[in-house]
Symmetry: C2
Subunit: 288 residues, 2 copies
């Protein structure tokens, strides 16, 4: 009667459920229509699940990373904001971003000539391109160069190369932990041109205020300009999510530079106001 | 061995959990430290639960309404924005708002002389004042007049009375359904002075886009000015929440009017940018 279920999935009242157990005091359970893909890479357990509430989802080690329903919010905000700050971005590096959504957004800018996408796990890129096209757009732009390597090692020997670096990492546990360390941000600084800038996701201002504060502090110790902005990502705990910018020169996003053709979250008003953050974040970051 | 558990609570691995079952495809479960209060009013099942992730929570018919951790976000945004739009609000009506948090915020404005708070369920006000002081502030300002009545009936015979009406309702199911009907908004229009304005919570732009759109449409058929704004409330499904404003005259919130002493979410920057909404909301509301 009983059939072996993939890790992280349970059967309840004849339905399949994914329950996120990342925090012990709050559980979010998604009712699943279908397991589209399941496999194990050298780095993590990888699934594409089709869910009732969020459509198709990329799930790594049991944690929802992005969904076809709201993945665009995160990807638009991590990509368009730095692209609206830099006046002429030509060469862009994306570290992580295996769902290809950030790269898809960067490709909307005609000034961009070359995108290096350094993702440690080829399996994630392959399954997202094949099964999660709502997010990846089945990205096949010739400007995108896939490099399946460790992002930390990749940037170590690079100098004065990129206009923009986007760090699209998972949570700072397991393989992504090193992407939140000061030495990594120092290497990013070195890898950027003299007027370059970087952005990284810096977790929930509500549930991971310590990580957000530490990221902001580390980046501001290295870069002359540091800014923080937010977006609302329904599948992430607490909804509110933060992104931290470190810049050598430019800081203000210009709505005039925005290419918002086909965007579903970002628009000129959102670009204009994205650096406005709630009072509790200003207090946490001692910005008052 | 087994002890009777209050409705909506379950025991799992020796711990108490509240599972919200409002949507059949997504479940959110909160681990509970303690049942602070449990009772049944003439209108609904009422609990104050102390939770691990969100502190104390008001739970009506099994649905989390507000928490000591994030209740201020909703209450600040539903109160301060209209108060920053009206140049001299003196008389304010709050319909619903049993947790007293909206009234607490309105009390911060010295121009306000009189606040009528019309809440159908006295039990909610009583337990929030006693057990949820992080939200209610144990409100005892003499300008607040409690009226334990049906809000729809209350406004029927009132004309030209209020500067601001705040509709702080629960979801449009059960008793709060009538607070989303066009005839109710017509009565609010009548109850407002010639330069008055109203605001109501209009649900999640993601999960209840139909309710948001319908509310916006109904209000814009009655009021010459209609605006919509958002806030991020982590305990509400999807995080992003919408508020719809109907105004007879004034529409732009002025950060100069803001009294943000002791606020934790709202600040001048948030007031300045609150009418900027994501592109998918503009599309849903046909604002492009």
């Amino acid at each position: 009667m009983s059939k072996h279920l993939p890790n992280f999935l349970t059967r309840k009242n004849n339905s399949l459920w994914l329950t996120e157990d990342e925090r012990e005091n709050l559980e979010v359970s998604y009712k699943i229509k279908e397991i589209v893909f399941e496999g194990q890479s050298s780095f993590q357990h990888v699934m594409i699940l089709d869910s009732y509430s969020f459509g198709k989802m990329l799930v790594l080690d049991g944690i929802v990373q992005t969904t076809s329903m709201d993945g665009h919010i995160y990807n638009e905000m991590i990509a368009h904001i730095p692209l609206c700050i830099h006046p002429r971005p030509r060469k862009v590096l994306i570290i992580g971003g295996g769902d290809c959504g950030a790269a898809k957004e960067v490709c909307k800018y005609s000034s961009v000539e070359h995108i290096d996408m350094v993702e440690i796990d080829k399996l994630v890129v392959d399954v997202c391109r094949e099964h999660l096209r709502e997010v990846s757009g089945n990205l096949s732009d010739p400007r995108v160069h896939y490099i399946f390597e460790n992002g930390v090692t990749f940037v170590q020997d690079i100098e004065n190369e990129y206009d923009i670096i986007i760090v699209d990492s998972s949570d700072p546990i397991g393989p992504a932990k090193v992407l939140f360390e000061k030495s990594f941000y120092q290497n990013l600084y070195k890898a950027l041109k003299n007027d370059g800038l970087m952005v990284c996701q810096s977790q929930s201002p509500i549930f991971h205020a310590d990580v957000m504060e530490q990221t902001f502090k580390r980046i501001s110790q290295i870069f002359p300009q540091t800014e923080i902005y937010t977006a609302v990502v329904p599948t992430y705990p607490g909804g509110l999510w933060s992104f931290t910018l470190g810049s050598k020169q430019y800081t203000f996003p210009s709505p005039d530079r925005l290419n918002y053709q086909d965007t579903r979250y970002v628009n000129p008003q959102i670009v204009e106001q994205c650096l406005s953050i709630p009072q509790f974040m200003r207090q946490q970051l001692k910005l008052n």
